[in-house]
Symmetry: C2
């Protein structure tokens, strides 16, 4: 018995940083996935363990199911039908289970991910022996929501075989969850994100769960109905960032220049709203797809300027901007800035030759380039064989 789930990453189209200061932001799912497959052993397998394989890191962890039962006696008999937060007591027991696996101390995030895995597994599946295989197209820690995609895919895969969810297992290929199932997946994923990040905004798991494009302001999320397909080049500068320090830097600059910065945040709010309006405007309306793309490019360029005004750019981001500008393509950083990823809109009519040229030039600078559609479906499930 096997289930395979995929959950997309996210990008921020407009409004990062300014959203912390009350502006509207717009996020979208990106067609790069984290895959989680779940396989229950048959009695003849004679396997009584919980196995976690992280393919991208070539890592494998294994616990005898009885060991988990012993460490977390509060679970197993009564599964949690509604998502709950991990108590400090459970967290300590989980930490002990993680420690037994000899994860290098430097890999704090990996340990946090494994902890989230153990929590979601215990809550949703109890202590059934199972093998979980994870692989991902999302670069880790680069602001594309890789941890949320992991939590969403994992929650969905675990829920697929739980009593909380009823799915049509006879369907072929990837299929979406129902509205109530999605809500459950999203809530569980959020609990996982809390274990990994402490105080996540909930945006990443929501985008990964529901897909499409989401507007958010002051903690409230609104799902937009997008009427256009957008293709983006995502350039991972591979420059590590300290998100907390970048957010604090913007706040400090705001204290030093309150008038100018408040105007900048309001300008971002206006840009996010314009962007949302374009995305939602009816498909065949007075604006052609090219006109819409040009408007979006202009708004991206404007937002990038405002992000530079906030002081969150970086030499590596400037290099990407300068390179794509040569090809008359609009780019902006996405997420925290200070490195991380840069978005470049690839217009529908842009030739593949130009795209390849830009990618070659960016890769020659040592960057990693990915192309993906944005605003596509959220988490999807596939039963049976591989897909």
């Amino acid at each position: 018995m096997e289930v395979r789930v995929r959950a997309p990453g996210k990008i921020i189209l407009a409004g990062e940083h300014a959203v912390v200061h009350g502006s509207t932001a717009v996020a979208a799912s990106v067609g790069l996935y984290t895959y989680v497959s779940l396989r229950f052993p048959t009695p003849s397998d004679n396997d009584d363990s919980l196995n976690l394989q992280l393919k991208d890191m070539a890592l494998e962890f294994s616990w005898p199911v009885d060991r988990i039962k012993e460490a977390l006696p509060e679970f197993g008999s009564s599964l949690s039908p509604t998502p709950t937060s991990c108590s400090i007591k459970s967290m300590k027991s989980i930490a002990a289970l993680v420690e037994e696996q000899n994860i290098p101390e430097a890999k704090v995030e990996l340990a946090a991910g494994v902890s989230a895995f153990l929590w979601l597994y215990s809550c949703i599946q109890g202590f059934k022996p199972v093998t979980v295989v994870v692989n991902s197209e999302l670069p880790l820690g680069s602001g594309l929501g890789s941890s949320a995609a992991f939590c969403v895919a994992l929650s969905a895969a675990l829920l697929a075989f739980s009593d909380s969810v009823s799915l049509d297992m006879s369907q072929q290929g990837w299929s979406v969850f129902g509205e109530s199932e999605l809500e459950l997946v999203n809530k569980w994923a959020f609990e996982g994100e809390k274990i990994i990040h402490g105080k996540p905004s909930g945006l990443d798991n929501t985008v990964s769960t529901y897909g499409n494009i989401i507007k958010f302001k002051s903690g409230a999320l609104t799902r937009l109905k997008s009427n256009m397909t957008l293709k983006m080049l995502i350039t991972n500068t591979k420059v590590g960032r300290n998100t907390k320090a970048l957010v604090a830097g913007v706040s400090e600059r705001t204290l030093r220049h309150p008038d100018a910065m408040s105007l900048v945040f309001n300008a971002v709010d206006s840009i996010s709203k314009e962007l949302s309006a374009i995305i939602q405007s009816p498909a065949p309306d007075d604006l052609s797809i090219t006109e819409k793309e040009e408007k979006m490019e202009e708004l991206m360029e404007m937002n990038q300027g405002l992000l530079q005004c906030m002081g969150v750019s970086h030499a590596s981001i400037e290099t990407v901007l300068r390179t794509t500008l040569k090809y008359k393509l609009a780019s902006k950083l996405t997420g925290a800035g200070g490195g991380g990823c840069v978005l470049t809109l690839l217009p529908t009519l842009l030739s593949e030759t130009v795209v390849n040229k830009v990618i070659a030039e960016l890769e020659s600078c040592g960057f990693q380039c990915l192309t993906a559609a944005i605003g596509g479906k959220g988490v999807e499930v596939c039963f049976g064989g591989s897909s």
Copy 2:
């Protein structure tokens, strides 16, 4: 009898483009000069011509004084004590005089400069034979106010020997003009600028005449009393720009995104005001020079971001930004953008070694680098030998 005059160029410290939309801007003189020397022939020289030597272009023009008298009969007998605009009739006669000198048709700006020269000479000096030598440290047409510096230096040199101005010719070295003389120089230079540019703002000639730092908003100029010496690296990208097209581009973007752009212009206004306040704050106050420089750097970075938001950056500007960012130096474009010049603040405590490294790296990209103090004196005069 000889007089030598030097007039500085200008840079815009903050507010370019936004000033067109009502924001405050701040300009400063830059310690790069256009030199004009005037030598009257002695009777034994037997020279009855007006000679203009443009040293930087290795060009020389010469007219018999009688030829000018014939072409411009309205001048000579009564010199104009107050600056007046060139009439269409005079402009036509001057055009004929310029045409006789076989200036290549492509050099429209050169012809305009020579026209301004003939106008100022005829108005201020009548038809005395004289040799005028011009050389300049300012790159032409790169937004550093080279034409205004030419008009200011020329007007000042011509006025130095006129009845309108009384100067102490016994002074050694460079000396400044009196307040009323400066006013006259500035007005004449503005008339010259009108011949070259059509509708100049008057900012460039005012900065070149008075020096120091000037705040301007909605056409009104305020001279600031600066209390700090600032050193700038000026990088000439050598990318030619179309100022009119850039200004029009910002206006078009403003029509497309009125809300966002109006907030951006207001943010620039706030930045210009903050900058003016720092510049004017008393010398030994609670802020050390380093703290002031850091504040200015932050404001320059913010202004640059807002200029990028307006869409007036350019790949060459990005290259300069990226390069100086590596050395933790703040830069912004100055003037119209789309190429042209980029300013980089050189903090007082920055080592010469680092400055040389940055310059070497920028020059290896094909850019021209100049370093200069900003906010220094305006037009100055020197009698007798060279200085």
